[in-house]
Each structure stands twice: as structure tokens, then as C-alpha cells.
């Protein structure tokens, strides 16, 4: 195989060298891959991963240029019966295909959601007009490659950490004999800057269940940087987060998040993709929980009767690909099934298509929509009131393409717990 000329080598040289020998070429990953299933431009995870991996040497990475079509959804690794880290290999390979040392303006922006929010906030009214203008979106599509029809989130006027400054700590609050369980909330950029009301609601739910919540020092998890080939910048974010979260983890306090991609980065990507190693990264990985994983496994094992109120809605639950990569199933489903009058359907679609920032790119947009089509059609034909899914990028994407309001499962739990609404905090769900 001749190496494609546009590769800039070495990004992966420091990363774990993945052995392809475990792969028996059974093609179970190919059958499950949502991207190769909709475009012949992607030969499938096995072909570009373990199959190419046989030619891979640390100093001479062998990368099929078609690997850029991989969305990084992770299904290939999860379905592999032999434990081959197919997705991780392909994500590392993709970084080899980075066109140059500098990211394009679009990828630079997509990989820095916190910075983008910070800059937009002072000019928010103007920025909103721009984002809602079809003409300007088309212009941005042509100029920068930001897909005009991809739904984008709105920046919130006040970040969560300002509204709930009372919860922000540099270290766990010292306390004597308080028996209450407590957690450190990893809000991630989306809950901090785009959906602070969701963070507020989560805090309310946890407090209602008797949990004390603290907000530890944190920055963006780094996943958007990793997905846009900026591994060094992603590692920098990772190290800051590890340092910020460690004091909680050392005291045995769980790190809990509502964003399944951020928690996956803490649990998995820091080690398996960014190649960080050591006791710190291991203990943060083991101490991190998705919100519902925490509820089901730590706070409420065996699911006691929570006296949930009826929520008479017909919903379609979709487990985001990133949540599935936690390898914990869909813990939210166990709680949703306990809500009276909630009519629940479950999606079998592997991925909604957006896969973080993949679907927002003009050149990937159509493929991403095709990946999610089965889900959008299912939601529309079933005539559900809401789509329920744990990851924010999936919610925005699914709502935009199915036309059905898409919510986080904690919103249903909050309703079932009869929690006071958010207006008390000067917040509202858009």
C-alpha cells in the first residue's frame, strides 16, 4: 500500500500501538457500521482498521484516506467479539490524515465550544440573528464548510457555573459527619454554556434524591478537539480536567455528568485514544459515571420505589452511540420504565448520524443524515411526543431532522419527581 501523500506522520507515534492480530476478519463490525452502510465511500471499519493495521508500523503509519469518513461512533469496537479496538485505531489513523499543522477555521471553531460561547456572549443578539439567517448559514456553508441545514445550539446568556456559583468549589468542601452522598458534577461545555437549565434540573433531581452536588474545576473534556485531529490540545484539556477532578476522586466522590460524550472522554478516550497513562487517569476513569448509571448503580441499587408521578407522554428512547460505548447498556431505560403512564418505545438505530461534530461539516452532512434516517422515520411514524436521548449533540440533531422535540431523560425524571420548574432560577427550557 502506498501512503497517501497528504499525511503528516507522527501524531500517533506516541500512542498505544494497536495489534491487529486479534482480528479474524469476521466482518461483524462491517455489518454493524452505520457509515459504510450508507456510503460506499467508506469501505468499513475492518477494511481501514485492522486490515490496514497489518501494514502499520509506529514510524510508518499506513492509513487509508477513506478513514476520514469514519464518524468515530464506536460501534465497531463494541460489537467486536475479539476485543479489537477498531474505532480507536481508526480515530488515531484519522489524525494522521490531518491536512496540515493548522486546523481550518471551521474545525477550529467546532472543536472549541467553550471559547465560541465566550466570544458570542457579548454580541449574543447579533450572533443569534446570524445563526438564524438562512442566507448567512448558506454563506457559512460555502465559505467555511459549516453545513447550512445542520441544527446548531443557542448560547445561553449565563453559564451554569455563574447561576450556581454556590456549588463551585476548588476542592471538596470539608465536612464532618454529614451522611449525605455527594457527587462532583462534570457539566461539560454543553451544560455550562448552551443548556445550563439542564444542569440546573440535574442538580435539582440529585438534591431531591438527597445528594449534595458540587461543581469541580473543569474545562472542555477535549473530545471535540480529538475528533478534529487536535490531539495535543485535547491532551492539554485532559490533563487540566484530571488535576481538577482528582481531589474528589481521591475522596471516593463520584464524578457525574449528563453529557454522555464528555463522560466517555473521561472514562475511555483519555486512555485509549489520547494515550494518557498513570494512576490519575485510571482513578478518574473508574470514578466517572453517567448520571443514570450513578442513579442505578450507586444511589439507588435495586431501584427502590421512588413514588414517581405519572408522565402521560409517548416517547422514543434512543441510546446515543457515545453512551453505548460506555458499555453499560442504557441505564436511563430502567428508570424511565418505572414512570407511570409513560409510553416507551426504544430505537434500534446504532447512531443518529451527527457523532459530535461530524454531521455539522458540509462534506459529511448528507452521509450523517442518511445514518440517522431510520431513527427520524421511526420517530415520525410512531408519532411520538418526544424523542428521549442522553447526548446533547444527538438531541439537537434529531430534533432538527425529525421535527420532534428531543429531551434528556433527566427531564422526564424531574417531571416524575414533581420538581418545581426552572423559572425559580430565572431559567427556562427553550
Amino acid at each position: 500500500m502506498i501512503l497517501p501523500s497528504q499525511t503528516t506522520p507522527k501524531a500517533a507515534a506516541s500512542l498505544p500501538f494497536y495489534d491487529s492480530d486479534l482480528c479474524v476478519k469476521c466482518n461483524i463490525c462491517t455489518a454493524a457500521c452505520p457509515v459504510s452502510g450508507v456510503t460506499a465511500l467508506f469501505p468499513g471499519p475492518k477494511a481501514v482498521g485492522p486490515q490496514m493495521g497489518r501494514y502499520w508500523q509506529p514510524a510508518h503509519p499506513a492509513v487509508d484516506p477513506a478513514t476520514t469518513w469514519c464518524s468515530g461512533c464506536g460501534v465497531c469496537s463494541r460489537v467486536c467479539p475479539h476485543g479489537v479496538p477498531v474505532a480507536e485505531m481508526n480515530i488515531v489513523s484519522k489524525a494522521e490524515l490531518r491536512p496540515g499543522p493548522r486546523l481550518s477555521l471551521r474545525d477550529w471553531g467546532l472543536s472549541r465550544p467553550a471559547e465560541v460561547a465566550r466570544w458570542m456572549r457579548p454580541i449574543l443578539p447579533l450572533a443569534r440573528i446570524a445563526l438564524r439567517s438562512a442566507v448567512l448559514r448558506r454563506l457559512a456553508d460555502g465559505l467555511f464548510g459549516l453545513a447550512a441545514r445542520a441544527p446548531l445550539p443557542d448560547v445561553a446568556e449565563r453559564p451554569l457555573s455563574r447561576t450556581r456559583a454556590d456549588l463551585v468549589r476548588r476542592e471538596p468542601a470539608p465536612r464532618a459527619a454529614d451522611p449525605r452522598p455527594r457527587v462532583a458534577f462534570f457539566h461539560g461545555c454543553s451544560t455550562e454554556d448552551y443548556e445550563p437549565w439542564l444542569g440546573q434540573m440535574t442538580v435539582q433531581v440529585l438534591e431531591n434524591l438527597g445528594v449534595e452536588v458540587e461543581i469541580p474545576p473543569q474545562v472542555c473534556c477535549g473530545l471535540p478537539l480529538q475528533s478534529n485531529h487536535a490531539f495535543d490540545a485535547a491532551r492539554q484539556r485532559a490533563r487540566r480536567n484530571l488535576a481538577g477532578l482528582l481531589p474528589w476522586v481521591e475522596r471516593g466522590i463520584p464524578i457525574v455528568g449528563t453529557s454522555t460524550s464528555c463522560t466517555l472522554a473521561l472514562k475511555h478516550d483519555y486512555r485509549a485514544v489520547l494515550g494518557l497513562a498513570g494512576a490519575e487517569v485510571d482513578s478518574v476513569s473508574e470514578g466517572t459515571y453517567d448520571l443514570f448509571e450513578y442513579l442505578v448503580h450507586v444511589l439507588l441499587p435495586g431501584l427502590p420505589d421512588l413514588r414517581l408521578q405519572a408522565v402521560p407522554l409517548h416517547v422514543l428512547y434512543h441510546a446515543p452511540c457515545q453512551l453505548r460505548s460506555h458499555r453499560i447498556g442504557s441505564p436511563a431505560l430502567q428508570i424511565l420504565r418505572a414512570i407511570p403512564d409513560l409510553r416507551l418505545e426504544v430505537s434500534q438505530t446504532e447512531c443518529c448520524g451527527v457523532a459530535g461534530t461530524y454531521g455539522l461539516k458540509s462534506e459529511r452532512y448528507q452521509v450523517a443524515v442518511e445514518v440517522g434516517r431510520e431513527l427520524f422515520v421511526q420517530a415520525r411514524t410512531a408519532g411520538v411526543d418526544r424523542v428521549v436521548t442522553d447526548s446533547e449533540t444527538c438531541r439537537w440533531w434529531i430534533e432538527g431532522h425529525s421535527g420532534i422535540p428531543s429531551i434528556h431523560p433527566v427531564e422526564l425524571l424531574a417531571a416524575a419527581l414533581g420538581l418545581p420548574d426552572l423559572r425559580r432560577y430565572g431559567m427556562s427550557r427553550p
Binding site: 459504510s36 460489537v79 467479539p81 476485543g83 448503580h297 460505548s325 458499555r327 447498556g329
Partner: protein
């Protein structure tokens, strides 16, 4: 309170057991390290190589999984499976008292007891001459190979028909499941019919690779049969095999609809109940992307597969252990004895696995179960070379059925 069952393994045995148990009101959790092997399956239910199981059963060794399950369990399991497939719009032709002789992708004969209607239509007992369709876009299927093989067995193969798929030019070969996806779409099928029909004059029975639809296979097959004006049938391909994938997708969907909590990805380690003096298991712990997570249940069913599927492991130091609870696997000391002198005969390694009691509980040589509430089904159960016997799916269904009965009783 309903009984809880933890099923480990998502092949045919694990998925079928999960659906059965959940439909009987149990609270079921299914954990699987990977997706399970149905993508590698021809999608038929093989029971016995010559179909004469009713007569052979009593002659089998007492430890053979089919003998242990017994005829009534086999009958119930087979009927339950066919009913579930019917409900999933994947109707089967199947019987415990007759066999179907079906063509394979190599032109050999596959003897089976149950086949999806689209495959069963290819029965070689039908004297009507056949033609084989070649799809150039699918390089993993050679009509010429099928025809040559069948002719050498005396089957009347009239010819090979080159059938181009109407589709945009593809930069690569297509996989079977990708073509199957196309066939789910009625508009695509209409294009196929107009492109193929002129080439099928004089053809009565047409063998095609098994790519005629994935989630809407019944609809696809029925409409092609009607609109092409020939009697089509499907021949299973190399993996990913669409007939196996259809069953997998249907069983997964029905399992989730029945309330099964499906956990995909973690490898698992079994847990013994510390308060039971080693008599009971309490569940298993999954190695997730983050920390270990425990899953407790009243009973655990191992459906992790046999020698080639990870259900038991052979270590360099000579130890041979079941993979989840570390139970002993009885083997010959000398590994030379594991394999037969030639490939196409019964293989001793294939018979290795867990010895089970009449209730499908792993047990020691004297028949004493290791744990009261641990069960095993499918290829992990010792005592049969399923490939040689042609008994693979029959054992999966019968042992899963019997183990679920025992676990929930």
C-alpha cells in the same frame, strides 16, 4: 416480585433465551462482550445431519445436550422459535420430521430442519430446473461455483444469468447487507424488476445470493416473486450473512420490546454469592469503559459459546477454564488428542465444554451442580461436535429453552 435472569452471550442461544424468559415475566438482563455470531450464520435451524433425530436421539450419549433436553423440550423450543420468527415477519418452513436439502454458496447440499421461506424455496427436492443469478457487484458470491457444484451432484442447472444491480457506480465492492438494505426499498425493487425481467425469459426457478431485503425481507421476497415472474430463492453468502443478520435484528428488537436490558460491550466475570457458602451465584461484574459495574440476578445463564467462540479458554500453562466463572473444562491432558487426524471428521475439541445436569446446570463428573442457580446453554455445553452432527441451532434452541424452564421454575 418477578424472578431476575442474567443471560451472558448474544448469539442465537442467548437472544432466544432472553426473549423466552422476558415473555414469561422474568426481569432479564443480557450482557455480551461482542455482538454474537449470527452475522456468520446461514440463518437456518440445523437439527441433525440426516434429519433422523427422532430415531437417533435415544442412541445419543446421555450427556449429549439434545438427549439431556429431550424430545418434548426440543419440540417446544422449535415451535416457539418458529412462532417468534413468524411474528417478526421472517416466516420459516420447518419440521422436526422432514429435512430440506438446500444449495450452498459452494454448490454443496446443506441439510436442515428449518429455513426461512426464501431459502427453503431453493429445495433441491424440487425437480424443476434452476438458474443461478450472478450479481457482479457482489464479488463474494460466484454463480459459476454454485452451478458447477450443483451439477456435479446431478442437479439440473440450466444456466447462469448475469444480473446487474441498478445503482450508482460504487468505488468499492458491496457487502451483502448493503445490497439487502437496497432491496428493503420498494422503489429500488421496481428498478430491479425492470432491469432483470427481460433477462429472465424461460427461467422458472432463480437462485440468488441472500441479499433480498434486510428488515423487510418478507415484503421484498414476495414482491420479487410476483413481479419477476419467476420462483426466486436465496442462497446464504459469506459473512456478513444476511439471513443470520435478519434473525439477529429481529431477536434483539423483540428482546428490547419485551423489556430486556441489553448491555453490549463489557467482558464479564462471574460472582459467587458470599452468603451461600459457595452454593449460589449472585450475578456478574462487567468491565465497562470506566469502572467495574455489578449486575445481580436470581439466576445466571451462560450462553457464551464453545471452543471457537470464547465460552472457554485454554491457557499456555495447560489450564482450561470456562470464561466467566472459571469452571473446570474436562479435557485430555495431551493436546495432541484434541484434534482428529483429518479436518473433515468429528473433532474432539469441538465436544469440549461444560458438563451439565438434567436442568442444564454446570456440574462435576458425579453430576453435582457447581451452583444451584447457574445454567448453561448453546455451544458451551459439552458433548457434541455441532458442526459434524449438523446440530448447532437445534442445540442452541433446545438447551436455551430447557435452561430457561429450569432457571425460572
Amino acid at each position: 416480585m418477578s424472578k431476575s435472569l442474567l443471560v451472558i452471550g448474544a448469539g442465537l442461544a442467548g437472544l432466544f433465551a432472553s426473549v423466552l424468559a422476558a415473555r414469561r415475566g422474568a426481569s432479564v438482563r443480557l450482557i455480551a462482550e461482542g455482538r454474537g455470531g449470527l452475522a456468520l450464520s446461514h440463518g437456518c435451524i440445523d437439527l441433525w445431519r440426516d434429519g433422523e433425530l427422532r430415531f437417533s436421539l435415544a442412541r445419543l450419549d446421555r450427556s449429549h445436550p439434545l438427549r439431556l433436553a429431550g424430545w418434548p423440550a426440543l419440540e417446544s423450543a422449535f415451535a416457539a422459535f418458529l412462532e417468534i420468527m413468524h411474528e417478526a415477519r421472517l416466516p420459516f418452513a420447518g419440521s422436526l420430521d422432514r429435512v430440506w436439502r438446500l444449495p450452498t454458496a459452494l454448490g454443496a447440499t446443506h441439510i436442515t430442519s428449518g429455513a426461512p421461506v426464501s431459502l427453503a424455496s431453493g429445495t433441491l427436492d424440487d425437480p424443476e430446473p434452476i438458474s443461478i443469478g450472478n450479481l457482479p457487484a457482489l464479488r463474494d458470491f460466484s454463480a459459476e461455483l454454485v452451478a458447477a457444484g450443483l451439477r456435479s451432484q446431478g442437479v439440473d442447472v440450466r444456466g447462469i444469468v448475469e444480473l446487474e444491480l441498478p445503482q450508482p457506480r460504487s468505488p468499492r465492492d458491496l457487502y451483502p447487507q448493503e445490497i439487502a438494505d437496497l432491496f428493503d426499498d420498494p422503489d429500488y425493487r421496481a428498478q430491479v424488476v425492470s432491469a432483470w425481467k427481460p433477462k429472465l425469459r424461460g427461467v422458472r426457478r432463480l437462485g440468488l445470493p441472500a441479499v433480498l431485503g434486510r428488515d423487510r425481507a418478507l415484503e421484498a421476497f414476495a414482491s420479487l416473486e410476483q413481479d419477476l415472474g419467476v420462483a426466486p430463492f436465496e442462497i446464504p453468502t459469506l459473512p456478513p450473512s444476511v439471513p443470520g443478520l435478519r434473525i439477529e435484528r429481529a431477536l434483539r428488537r423483540l428482546a428490547v420490546e419485551a423489556g430486556v436490558d441489553l448491555i453490549e460491550g463489557p467482558s464479564v466475570r462471574g460472582e459467587v454469592d458470599g452468603r451461600s457458602a459457595g452454593k449460589r451465584v449472585s450475578g456478574a461484574v462487567g468491565a465497562t469503559a470506566g469502572g467495574p459495574r455489578g449486575y445481580r440476578a436470581h439466576a445466571v445463564l451462560l450462553a457464551t459459546g464453545g471452543a471457537l467462540h470464547g465460552g472457554w479458554l485454554s491457557f499456555a500453562n495447560g489450564e482450561v477454564q470456562e470464561a466467566v466463572f472459571g469452571l473446570p473444562i474436562e479435557t485430555s491432558e495431551d493436546r495432541e488428542d484434541w484434534a482428529a487426524p483429518t479436518l473433515y471428521q468429528e473433532q474432539p475439541f469441538a465436544r469440549l465444554g461444560l458438563r451439565v445436569d438434567a436442568r442444564f446446570r454446570p456440574c462435576d463428573r458425579r453430576g453435582r451442580p457447581f451452583f444451584e442457580n447457574l445454567f448453561a446453554a448453546g455451544g458451551l455445553v459439552a458433548g457434541s461436535d455441532r458442526t459434524f452432527e449438523g446440530s448447532r441451532q437445534g442445540i442452541d434452541l433446545a438447551s436455551a429453552f430447557a435452561a430457561v424452564e429450569a432457571a425460572l421454575s
